[in-house]
Protein backbone atom coordinates (compact mmCIF):
# COMPACT_ATOMS: atom_id res chain seq x y z
CA UNK A 1 0.00 0.00 0.00
CA UNK A 2 1.41 3.36 -1.00
CA UNK A 3 2.44 5.92 1.57
CA UNK A 4 0.93 9.40 1.61
CA UNK A 5 2.60 12.76 1.17
CA UNK A 6 1.99 16.50 1.00
CA UNK A 7 3.24 18.09 -2.21
CA UNK A 8 2.05 21.69 -2.09
CA UNK A 9 0.59 24.28 0.27
CA UNK A 10 -0.91 27.75 0.08
CA UNK A 11 -2.36 30.16 2.63
CA UNK A 12 -4.66 33.19 2.34
CA UNK A 13 -3.68 35.74 4.97
CA UNK A 14 -5.61 35.44 8.23
CA UNK A 15 -7.21 38.48 9.83
CA UNK A 16 -10.03 40.93 9.24
CA UNK A 17 -10.10 40.50 5.50
CA UNK A 18 -11.75 42.66 2.85
CA UNK A 19 -12.81 39.52 1.03
CA UNK A 20 -15.81 37.21 0.84
CA UNK A 21 -15.93 33.58 1.91
CA UNK A 22 -15.41 32.38 -1.66
CA UNK A 23 -12.70 34.99 -2.28
CA UNK A 24 -10.75 33.52 0.62
CA UNK A 25 -10.99 29.87 -0.34
CA UNK A 26 -10.16 30.74 -3.94
CA UNK A 27 -7.11 32.71 -2.79
CA UNK A 28 -5.80 29.76 -0.76
CA UNK A 29 -6.50 27.15 -3.45
CA UNK A 30 -4.90 29.30 -6.13
CA UNK A 31 -1.84 29.87 -3.92
CA UNK A 32 -1.54 26.12 -3.45
CA UNK A 33 -1.62 25.49 -7.22
CA UNK A 34 0.83 28.36 -7.80
CA UNK A 35 3.25 27.08 -5.15
CA UNK A 36 4.00 23.92 -7.11
CA UNK A 37 4.90 25.94 -10.20
CA UNK A 38 2.25 24.51 -12.47
CA UNK A 39 3.21 20.89 -11.74
CA UNK A 40 -0.34 20.25 -10.57
CA UNK A 41 -3.37 21.65 -12.39
CA UNK A 42 -7.03 21.60 -11.32
CA UNK A 43 -7.58 18.66 -13.69
CA UNK A 44 -5.01 16.59 -11.78
CA UNK A 45 -7.06 16.76 -8.57
CA UNK A 46 -9.53 13.86 -8.34
CA UNK A 47 -10.54 14.29 -4.71
CA UNK A 48 -11.56 17.41 -2.79
CA UNK A 49 -12.24 18.13 0.88
CA UNK A 50 -13.32 21.51 2.21
CA UNK A 51 -13.00 21.98 5.96
CA UNK A 52 -15.32 24.70 7.16
CA UNK A 53 -17.52 25.27 10.17
CA UNK A 54 -20.17 27.92 9.73
CA UNK A 55 -20.64 29.26 6.19
CA UNK A 56 -24.37 28.62 6.67
CA UNK A 57 -24.29 31.44 9.23
CA UNK A 58 -21.64 33.76 7.87
CA UNK A 59 -22.04 33.40 4.09
CA UNK A 60 -25.59 31.93 4.12
CA UNK A 61 -24.26 29.11 1.98
CA UNK A 62 -24.31 25.34 2.44
CA UNK A 63 -23.37 22.86 -0.31
CA UNK A 64 -19.84 24.15 0.16
CA UNK A 65 -17.78 21.41 -1.50
CA UNK A 66 -19.37 21.94 -4.91
CA UNK A 67 -19.10 25.70 -4.59
CA UNK A 68 -15.43 25.54 -3.63
CA UNK A 69 -14.60 23.08 -6.40
CA UNK A 70 -16.29 25.31 -8.95
CA UNK A 71 -14.30 28.30 -7.69
CA UNK A 72 -11.07 26.35 -8.16
CA UNK A 73 -11.84 24.62 -11.45
CA UNK A 74 -11.81 21.18 -9.85
CA UNK A 75 -14.21 18.45 -11.03
CA UNK A 76 -13.65 15.57 -8.59
CA UNK A 77 -14.07 12.06 -9.94
CA UNK A 78 -13.41 10.20 -6.67
CA UNK A 79 -14.30 12.35 -3.69
CA UNK A 80 -16.16 15.60 -3.00
CA UNK A 81 -16.61 16.28 0.70
CA UNK A 82 -17.43 19.09 3.11
CA UNK A 83 -16.06 18.34 6.55
CA UNK A 84 -17.23 20.09 9.72
CA UNK A 85 -15.97 19.25 13.18
CA UNK A 86 -15.74 22.70 14.72
CA UNK A 87 -12.09 23.66 15.33
CA UNK A 88 -10.75 20.17 14.51
CA UNK A 89 -12.07 20.42 10.96
CA UNK A 90 -8.74 21.28 9.31
CA UNK A 91 -6.57 18.53 10.74
CA UNK A 92 -9.45 16.10 10.40
CA UNK A 93 -9.48 17.01 6.70
CA UNK A 94 -5.82 15.99 6.45
CA UNK A 95 -6.55 12.77 8.35
CA UNK A 96 -9.46 12.04 6.00
CA UNK A 97 -7.41 12.76 2.86
CA UNK A 98 -4.74 10.41 4.23
CA UNK A 99 -7.33 7.64 4.62
CA UNK A 100 -8.78 8.08 1.12
CA UNK A 101 -5.30 8.03 -0.43
CA UNK A 102 -4.24 5.00 1.61
CA UNK A 103 -7.42 3.17 0.64
CA UNK A 104 -6.62 3.74 -3.01
CA UNK A 105 -9.87 5.63 -3.59
CA UNK A 106 -8.16 8.90 -4.56
CA UNK A 107 -4.94 9.82 -6.33
CA UNK A 108 -4.58 13.49 -5.45
CA UNK A 109 -6.74 15.27 -2.89
CA UNK A 110 -6.83 19.01 -2.33
CA UNK A 111 -7.80 19.91 1.24
CA UNK A 112 -9.01 23.48 1.68
CA UNK A 113 -9.91 25.05 5.02
CA UNK A 114 -11.85 28.30 4.91
CA UNK A 115 -13.83 30.56 7.21
CA UNK A 116 -15.33 34.04 7.10
CA UNK A 117 -16.12 34.96 10.71
CA UNK A 118 -16.26 38.74 10.43
CA UNK A 119 -19.81 39.82 9.57
CA UNK A 120 -21.43 43.25 9.07
CA UNK A 121 -23.20 43.16 12.45
CA UNK A 122 -20.54 42.49 15.12
CA UNK A 123 -23.17 41.47 17.70
CA UNK A 124 -23.76 38.36 15.63
CA UNK A 125 -20.22 37.10 15.97
CA UNK A 126 -20.40 35.52 19.41
CA UNK A 127 -23.89 34.21 18.70
CA UNK A 128 -22.44 32.52 15.61
CA UNK A 129 -19.47 31.15 17.56
CA UNK A 130 -21.86 29.72 20.16
CA UNK A 131 -23.34 27.37 17.53
CA UNK A 132 -20.32 25.15 18.11
CA UNK A 133 -21.36 24.43 21.70
CA UNK A 134 -24.28 22.45 23.10
CA UNK A 135 -27.14 24.74 22.14
CA UNK A 136 -29.87 23.22 24.29
CA UNK A 137 -27.94 22.84 27.52
CA UNK A 138 -24.89 25.14 27.53
CA UNK A 139 -24.74 27.63 24.65
CA UNK A 140 -28.25 28.82 25.63
CA UNK A 141 -26.71 30.07 28.89
CA UNK A 142 -24.29 32.33 27.06
CA UNK A 143 -21.42 29.86 27.27
CA UNK A 144 -18.75 30.30 24.58
CA UNK A 145 -15.32 28.72 24.21
CA UNK A 146 -13.49 31.12 26.56
CA UNK A 147 -15.73 30.00 29.43
CA UNK A 148 -14.78 26.33 29.07
CA UNK A 149 -11.06 26.95 28.70
CA UNK A 150 -11.04 29.52 31.53
CA UNK A 151 -12.44 26.86 33.84
CA UNK A 152 -9.68 24.48 32.71
CA UNK A 153 -7.15 27.25 33.44
CA UNK A 154 -8.58 27.88 36.91
CA UNK A 155 -8.32 24.17 37.70
CA UNK A 156 -4.77 23.89 36.31
CA UNK A 157 -3.64 26.95 38.28
CA UNK A 158 -5.16 25.65 41.49
CA UNK A 159 -3.85 22.11 41.09
CA UNK A 160 -0.36 22.74 39.72
CA UNK A 161 0.41 26.31 40.73
CA UNK A 162 0.45 27.50 37.12
CA UNK A 163 0.57 31.30 37.10
CA UNK A 164 -0.97 34.09 35.05
CA UNK A 165 2.58 35.04 34.03
CA UNK A 166 3.13 31.55 32.63
CA UNK A 167 -0.13 31.79 30.67
CA UNK A 168 0.95 35.22 29.43
CA UNK A 169 4.29 33.87 28.25
CA UNK A 170 2.49 31.62 25.77
CA UNK A 171 0.91 34.71 24.21
CA UNK A 172 4.21 36.62 24.20
CA UNK A 173 6.03 33.71 22.51
CA UNK A 174 3.38 33.11 19.86
CA UNK A 175 2.94 36.80 19.02
CA UNK A 176 6.75 37.03 18.71
CA UNK A 177 6.62 34.15 16.24
CA UNK A 178 3.80 35.63 14.16
CA UNK A 179 5.87 38.80 13.63
CA UNK A 180 7.74 36.70 11.08
CA UNK A 181 4.63 35.29 9.44
CA UNK A 182 3.21 37.37 6.58
CA UNK A 183 -0.03 35.35 6.75
CA UNK A 184 -0.65 36.18 10.44
CA UNK A 185 -3.35 38.48 11.77
CA UNK A 186 -0.93 40.04 14.30
CA UNK A 187 2.59 40.96 13.23
CA UNK A 188 3.78 43.45 15.83
CA UNK A 189 4.33 41.35 18.98
CA UNK A 190 3.10 41.91 22.54
CA UNK A 191 4.97 42.40 25.81
CA UNK A 192 4.38 40.51 29.04
CA UNK A 193 3.03 43.73 30.58
CA UNK A 194 0.57 44.21 27.72
CA UNK A 195 -0.73 40.68 28.14
CA UNK A 196 -1.01 40.90 31.94
CA UNK A 197 -2.66 44.34 31.89
CA UNK A 198 -5.11 43.67 29.06
CA UNK A 199 -8.85 44.04 29.62
CA UNK A 200 -10.45 40.98 31.20
CA UNK A 201 -12.41 38.54 29.05
CA UNK A 202 -13.29 35.91 31.65
CA UNK A 203 -11.18 35.08 34.70
CA UNK A 204 -8.29 34.35 34.48
CA UNK A 205 -8.11 35.36 30.79
CA UNK A 206 -7.32 38.79 29.44
CA UNK A 207 -7.66 39.74 25.79
CA UNK A 208 -4.31 38.28 24.72
CA UNK A 209 -5.01 34.93 26.38
CA UNK A 210 -7.67 34.41 23.70
CA UNK A 211 -7.35 33.85 19.95
CA UNK A 212 -9.21 36.50 17.94
CA UNK A 213 -12.11 36.36 15.48
CA UNK A 214 -10.56 35.86 12.04
CA UNK A 215 -11.18 35.32 8.38
CA UNK A 216 -8.78 33.14 6.43
CA UNK A 217 -8.15 30.07 4.34
CA UNK A 218 -5.45 27.52 3.58
CA UNK A 219 -4.95 24.64 1.16
CA UNK A 220 -2.66 21.63 0.73
CA UNK A 221 -2.46 18.79 -1.75
CA UNK A 222 -2.13 15.21 -0.52
CA UNK A 223 -1.13 12.40 -2.88
CA UNK A 224 0.55 8.99 -2.95
CA UNK A 225 4.26 8.85 -2.18
CA UNK A 226 4.89 7.49 -5.70
CA UNK A 227 3.12 10.37 -7.43
CA UNK A 228 4.61 12.87 -5.00
CA UNK A 229 8.06 12.43 -6.55
CA UNK A 230 6.63 13.46 -9.93
CA UNK A 231 5.47 16.76 -8.48
CA UNK A 232 8.27 17.73 -6.11
CA UNK A 233 11.75 16.72 -4.98
CA UNK A 234 10.76 17.29 -1.38
CA UNK A 235 7.48 15.63 -0.43
CA UNK A 236 6.52 15.69 3.23
CA UNK A 237 5.16 12.34 4.38
CA UNK A 238 2.19 11.81 6.67
CA UNK A 239 3.41 9.15 9.08
CA UNK A 240 0.91 9.18 11.93
CA UNK A 241 -2.60 10.31 12.76
CA UNK A 242 -4.94 9.92 15.72
CA UNK A 243 -8.27 11.25 16.92
CA UNK A 244 -10.27 10.89 20.10
CA UNK A 245 -13.60 12.52 20.94
CA UNK A 246 -15.43 12.36 24.26
CA UNK A 247 -18.53 14.36 23.48
CA UNK A 248 -19.84 17.87 23.12
CA UNK A 249 -21.22 18.89 26.49
CA UNK A 250 -18.57 20.39 28.76
CA UNK A 251 -20.26 19.62 32.05
CA UNK A 252 -19.86 15.92 32.56
CA UNK A 253 -16.75 14.65 30.90
CA UNK A 254 -14.00 14.98 33.46
CA UNK A 255 -13.40 14.69 37.13
CA UNK A 256 -10.41 16.95 36.60
CA UNK A 257 -10.55 19.80 34.08
CA UNK A 258 -6.74 20.08 34.08
CA UNK A 259 -6.46 16.66 32.40
CA UNK A 260 -7.50 16.04 28.79
CA UNK A 261 -7.51 12.24 28.37
CA UNK A 262 -8.76 12.29 24.73
CA UNK A 263 -5.71 14.32 23.70
CA UNK A 264 -3.43 11.82 25.38
CA UNK A 265 -5.23 9.05 23.49
CA UNK A 266 -5.12 10.81 20.10
CA UNK A 267 -1.41 11.51 20.58
CA UNK A 268 -0.71 7.89 21.59
CA UNK A 269 -2.42 6.64 18.42
CA UNK A 270 -0.41 9.02 16.24
CA UNK A 271 2.93 8.35 17.95
CA UNK A 272 2.47 4.57 17.73
CA UNK A 273 1.53 4.74 14.07
CA UNK A 274 4.55 6.96 13.34
CA UNK A 275 6.78 4.79 15.56
CA UNK A 276 8.23 7.86 17.26
CA UNK A 277 8.41 9.26 20.78
CA UNK A 278 7.33 12.76 21.87
CA UNK A 279 11.02 13.72 22.19
CA UNK A 280 11.48 13.02 18.46
CA UNK A 281 9.21 15.92 17.47
CA UNK A 282 11.22 18.94 16.31
CA UNK A 283 8.40 21.33 15.51
CA UNK A 284 4.75 21.34 16.60
CA UNK A 285 1.77 23.39 15.54
CA UNK A 286 -0.67 23.00 18.44
CA UNK A 287 -4.10 24.44 19.13
CA UNK A 288 -3.48 27.46 21.38
CA UNK A 289 -7.03 28.79 21.10
CA UNK A 290 -6.33 30.06 24.63
CA UNK A 291 -3.00 30.28 26.44
CA UNK A 292 -3.91 27.45 28.82
CA UNK A 293 -4.60 25.18 25.86
CA UNK A 294 -0.95 25.28 24.74
CA UNK A 295 0.19 24.56 28.31
CA UNK A 296 -2.09 21.55 28.79
CA UNK A 297 -1.39 20.35 25.23
CA UNK A 298 2.39 20.30 25.73
CA UNK A 299 1.75 18.10 28.76
CA UNK A 300 -0.70 15.71 27.12
CA UNK A 301 1.51 15.41 24.03
CA UNK A 302 4.28 14.23 26.36
CA UNK A 303 6.65 17.13 25.67
CA UNK A 304 6.85 17.65 29.45
CA UNK A 305 5.51 15.85 32.53
CA UNK A 306 1.88 16.41 33.60
CA UNK A 307 1.52 19.62 35.56
CA UNK A 308 4.80 21.10 34.32
CA UNK A 309 3.43 22.88 31.24
CA UNK A 310 3.80 26.24 33.00
CA UNK A 311 7.47 25.63 33.74
CA UNK A 312 7.96 24.30 30.19
CA UNK A 313 6.92 27.60 28.58
CA UNK A 314 8.70 29.64 31.23
CA UNK A 315 12.03 27.87 30.69
CA UNK A 316 11.94 28.44 26.93
CA UNK A 317 11.73 24.74 26.11
CA UNK A 318 8.92 25.37 23.61
CA UNK A 319 10.74 28.18 21.81
CA UNK A 320 13.65 28.30 19.34
CA UNK A 321 16.67 26.59 20.90
CA UNK A 322 14.44 24.56 23.25
CA UNK A 323 13.33 20.94 23.20
CA UNK A 324 10.62 21.45 20.56
CA UNK A 325 9.55 24.65 18.81
CA UNK A 326 5.84 25.02 19.50
CA UNK A 327 3.82 27.20 17.13
CA UNK A 328 6.54 28.80 14.97
CA UNK A 329 3.71 30.07 12.72
CA UNK A 330 2.47 32.15 15.64
CA UNK A 331 -0.27 29.83 16.78
CA UNK A 332 -3.93 30.71 16.89
CA UNK A 333 -3.07 33.54 19.29
CA UNK A 334 -0.77 35.25 16.79
CA UNK A 335 -2.20 34.12 13.44
CA UNK A 336 -5.87 34.29 14.29
CA UNK A 337 -8.29 31.38 14.20
CA UNK A 338 -10.54 31.04 11.19
CA UNK A 339 -11.82 27.68 12.53
CA UNK A 340 -11.76 25.29 9.55
CA UNK A 341 -8.72 27.00 8.05
CA UNK A 342 -6.51 26.66 11.12
CA UNK A 343 -5.55 22.98 10.88
CA UNK A 344 -4.83 23.27 7.16
CA UNK A 345 -2.63 26.34 7.75
CA UNK A 346 -0.81 24.45 10.52
CA UNK A 347 -0.21 21.64 8.02
CA UNK A 348 1.08 24.15 5.46
CA UNK A 349 3.52 25.47 8.09
CA UNK A 350 4.83 21.98 8.88
CA UNK A 351 5.16 21.34 5.13
CA UNK A 352 7.32 24.46 4.79
CA UNK A 353 9.28 23.78 7.99
CA UNK A 354 10.21 20.23 6.99
CA UNK A 355 11.29 21.45 3.53
CA UNK A 356 13.40 24.22 5.04
CA UNK A 357 11.22 26.90 3.42
CA UNK A 358 9.92 28.71 6.51
CA UNK A 359 12.22 31.73 6.19
CA UNK A 360 12.73 33.62 9.45
CA UNK A 361 10.50 31.09 11.19
CA UNK A 362 12.66 28.13 10.16
CA UNK A 363 13.38 25.55 12.86
CA UNK A 364 16.89 24.46 11.90
CA UNK A 365 17.15 20.84 10.88
CA UNK A 366 13.49 20.03 11.55
CA UNK A 367 12.77 16.45 10.49
CA UNK A 368 9.57 15.55 12.30
CA UNK A 369 6.58 17.86 12.70
CA UNK A 370 3.25 17.54 14.50
CA UNK A 371 -0.09 19.29 14.15
CA UNK A 372 -2.93 19.33 16.68
CA UNK A 373 -6.46 20.71 16.84
CA UNK A 374 -9.06 20.54 19.56
CA UNK A 375 -12.76 21.30 19.26
CA UNK A 376 -13.05 21.91 22.98
CA UNK A 377 -11.19 20.24 25.84
CA UNK A 378 -12.90 16.90 25.18
CA UNK A 379 -12.02 16.38 21.50
CA UNK A 380 -8.66 16.21 19.75
CA UNK A 381 -6.88 15.24 16.53
CA UNK A 382 -3.11 14.84 16.08
CA UNK A 383 -1.16 14.33 12.84
CA UNK A 384 2.57 13.63 12.45
CA UNK A 385 4.76 14.39 9.42
CA UNK A 386 8.30 13.49 8.36
CA UNK A 387 10.67 14.71 5.68
CA UNK A 388 12.43 11.33 5.68
CA UNK A 389 11.51 9.29 2.62
CA UNK A 390 8.84 6.73 3.43
CA UNK A 391 7.86 4.36 0.63
Amino acid sequence: MSQTALVSAGVAKFGVREASYRDLLTEAGQACFAACGGAIKPDDIDGFIVCTVMPERTAVQSHIASMAEECLGIRPSTLSLRLEHMCQSGNLGIRTAYAYIKAGLCKAVMVVGAEKLQVPVPDEIFLNMSTGLDRDWEACQGVTAPIMFAMCAQSHMRKYGTTKEQLAKVAVKNHAHSVNNPYAQFQSGVTLEQVLNAKSITTPFGLFDCSPISDGAAAVIVTTADRAREYTDMPVYIIGTGQSVHGLTFANHYEDLAHWPPLKQAAKSAYEMAAIKPADVDVAEVHDCFTIAEIITTEELGFCPKGEGGAFIESGQSDYGGQVVVNPRGGLLGCGHPLGATGVAQTAEIFWQLRGEAGKRQVEGAKIGLTHNNSGPTEHVVNIFSREVVL
Partner: protein
Protein backbone atom coordinates in the same frame (compact mmCIF):
# COMPACT_ATOMS: atom_id res chain seq x y z
CA UNK B 1 -37.96 42.81 -0.33
CA UNK B 2 -38.32 45.59 2.18
CA UNK B 3 -36.98 43.78 5.25
CA UNK B 4 -34.08 45.55 6.85
CA UNK B 5 -30.72 43.81 7.10
CA UNK B 6 -31.04 41.14 9.72
CA UNK B 7 -29.34 37.84 10.28
CA UNK B 8 -30.21 37.04 13.86
CA UNK B 9 -30.20 33.74 15.70
CA UNK B 10 -32.42 32.21 18.38
CA UNK B 11 -29.99 31.26 21.15
CA UNK B 12 -32.53 29.35 23.25
CA UNK B 13 -33.78 25.76 22.89
CA UNK B 14 -37.18 24.84 21.55
CA UNK B 15 -39.23 23.77 24.57
CA UNK B 16 -42.66 23.04 23.16
CA UNK B 17 -44.00 19.48 22.93
CA UNK B 18 -44.33 19.93 19.16
CA UNK B 19 -40.58 20.39 18.79
CA UNK B 20 -38.82 18.40 21.50
CA UNK B 21 -39.18 15.28 23.62
CA UNK B 22 -37.45 17.31 26.35
CA UNK B 23 -40.59 19.35 27.10
CA UNK B 24 -41.16 17.66 30.50
CA UNK B 25 -37.83 19.09 31.67
CA UNK B 26 -39.15 22.59 31.19
CA UNK B 27 -42.56 21.76 32.68
CA UNK B 28 -40.81 20.49 35.82
CA UNK B 29 -38.52 23.53 35.88
CA UNK B 30 -41.48 25.92 35.73
CA UNK B 31 -42.78 24.16 38.85
CA UNK B 32 -39.49 24.58 40.68
CA UNK B 33 -38.01 21.14 40.08
CA UNK B 34 -34.62 20.54 38.45
CA UNK B 35 -34.83 17.13 36.85
CA UNK B 36 -32.87 14.92 34.52
CA UNK B 37 -33.28 11.45 33.05
CA UNK B 38 -32.62 8.08 34.64
CA UNK B 39 -32.44 4.74 32.87
CA UNK B 40 -35.14 2.41 34.17
CA UNK B 41 -32.96 -0.59 33.44
CA UNK B 42 -29.41 0.26 34.61
CA UNK B 43 -30.41 3.25 36.81
CA UNK B 44 -27.77 5.50 35.24
CA UNK B 45 -28.59 9.21 35.63
CA UNK B 46 -27.36 11.59 32.91
CA UNK B 47 -26.80 15.28 32.40
CA UNK B 48 -27.99 16.63 30.09
CA UNK B 49 -31.21 14.63 29.94
CA UNK B 50 -31.34 12.14 27.09
CA UNK B 51 -33.92 10.05 25.27
CA UNK B 52 -31.72 6.96 25.50
CA UNK B 53 -29.32 5.69 28.13
CA UNK B 54 -25.74 6.35 27.00
CA UNK B 55 -24.52 3.54 29.26
CA UNK B 56 -26.76 0.61 28.29
CA UNK B 57 -28.55 2.01 25.19
CA UNK B 58 -32.00 1.42 26.64
CA UNK B 59 -34.82 3.73 25.57
CA UNK B 60 -36.65 3.15 28.85
CA UNK B 61 -35.90 6.38 30.63
CA UNK B 62 -37.77 8.34 33.27
CA UNK B 63 -37.51 11.78 34.80
CA UNK B 64 -35.86 12.05 38.21
CA UNK B 65 -35.53 15.09 40.45
CA UNK B 66 -32.00 16.17 41.26
CA UNK B 67 -30.97 17.25 44.80
CA UNK B 68 -32.00 20.73 45.99
CA UNK B 69 -28.40 21.61 46.79
CA UNK B 70 -25.23 21.57 44.70
CA UNK B 71 -21.62 22.64 45.12
CA UNK B 72 -19.53 24.86 42.86
CA UNK B 73 -16.77 22.73 41.30
CA UNK B 74 -15.31 25.46 39.05
CA UNK B 75 -16.24 28.98 37.96
CA UNK B 76 -15.24 31.93 35.81
CA UNK B 77 -16.47 35.53 35.77
CA UNK B 78 -17.03 36.74 32.20
CA UNK B 79 -16.90 40.39 31.23
CA UNK B 80 -16.52 40.05 27.46
CA UNK B 81 -16.74 37.48 24.68
CA UNK B 82 -20.24 36.30 25.50
CA UNK B 83 -23.22 36.67 23.16
CA UNK B 84 -25.20 39.88 23.07
CA UNK B 85 -28.10 39.99 25.51
CA UNK B 86 -26.38 38.32 28.46
CA UNK B 87 -25.54 40.23 31.64
CA UNK B 88 -22.07 41.68 32.20
CA UNK B 89 -20.48 40.32 34.23
CA UNK B 90 -21.87 36.80 34.07
CA UNK B 91 -20.74 34.24 36.63
CA UNK B 92 -20.51 30.84 34.98
CA UNK B 93 -20.43 27.88 37.36
CA UNK B 94 -19.81 24.18 37.00
CA UNK B 95 -21.97 22.66 39.71
CA UNK B 96 -21.98 19.15 41.14
CA UNK B 97 -25.61 18.24 41.78
CA UNK B 98 -25.90 14.70 43.13
CA UNK B 99 -24.48 12.37 40.47
CA UNK B 100 -24.14 14.96 37.67
CA UNK B 101 -22.35 18.19 36.85
CA UNK B 102 -24.18 21.11 35.23
CA UNK B 103 -22.58 24.10 33.48
CA UNK B 104 -24.80 27.13 34.01
CA UNK B 105 -24.97 30.60 35.51
CA UNK B 106 -24.97 31.82 39.11
CA UNK B 107 -27.52 34.63 39.33
CA UNK B 108 -27.94 37.49 41.81
CA UNK B 109 -24.48 36.93 43.27
CA UNK B 110 -21.47 39.11 44.02
CA UNK B 111 -18.59 37.74 41.90
CA UNK B 112 -16.17 38.25 44.80
CA UNK B 113 -18.22 35.86 46.95
CA UNK B 114 -17.91 32.90 44.59
CA UNK B 115 -15.55 30.13 45.61
CA UNK B 116 -15.02 26.42 45.11
CA UNK B 117 -17.38 24.42 47.31
CA UNK B 118 -19.97 27.21 47.55
CA UNK B 119 -23.43 25.75 48.22
CA UNK B 120 -25.96 26.64 45.55
CA UNK B 121 -29.55 25.74 44.74
CA UNK B 122 -31.43 25.45 41.46
CA UNK B 123 -33.42 28.38 40.15
CA UNK B 124 -34.81 29.42 36.78
CA UNK B 125 -34.68 32.42 34.50
CA UNK B 126 -37.25 33.41 31.90
CA UNK B 127 -36.14 34.07 28.33
CA UNK B 128 -38.07 35.22 25.24
CA UNK B 129 -40.69 32.87 23.86
CA UNK B 130 -41.61 31.61 20.41
CA UNK B 131 -44.88 31.64 18.48
CA UNK B 132 -45.69 28.44 20.39
CA UNK B 133 -44.39 29.31 23.87
CA UNK B 134 -45.28 32.59 25.50
CA UNK B 135 -42.05 32.40 27.41
CA UNK B 136 -39.23 29.94 27.82
CA UNK B 137 -37.22 29.03 30.92
CA UNK B 138 -33.62 27.99 31.57
CA UNK B 139 -32.09 26.31 34.62
CA UNK B 140 -29.63 28.42 36.61
CA UNK B 141 -28.32 28.49 40.18
CA UNK B 142 -28.40 30.92 43.08
CA UNK B 143 -26.43 30.94 46.33
CA UNK B 144 -28.18 28.67 48.86
CA UNK B 145 -29.94 30.62 51.52
Amino acid sequence: MTAKYIATIDPFPQQHKKYTKMYPFYDHLRQGRLVSTQCEECKHITWPPKTMCPQCASAQIDWVELPKEGRVVEFTVAERGIPVGFDIPTIFVLVQVGPVRILSRLINADPSKVEIGLAVEPDLVKVPGTPLDEERVLPVFKIKE
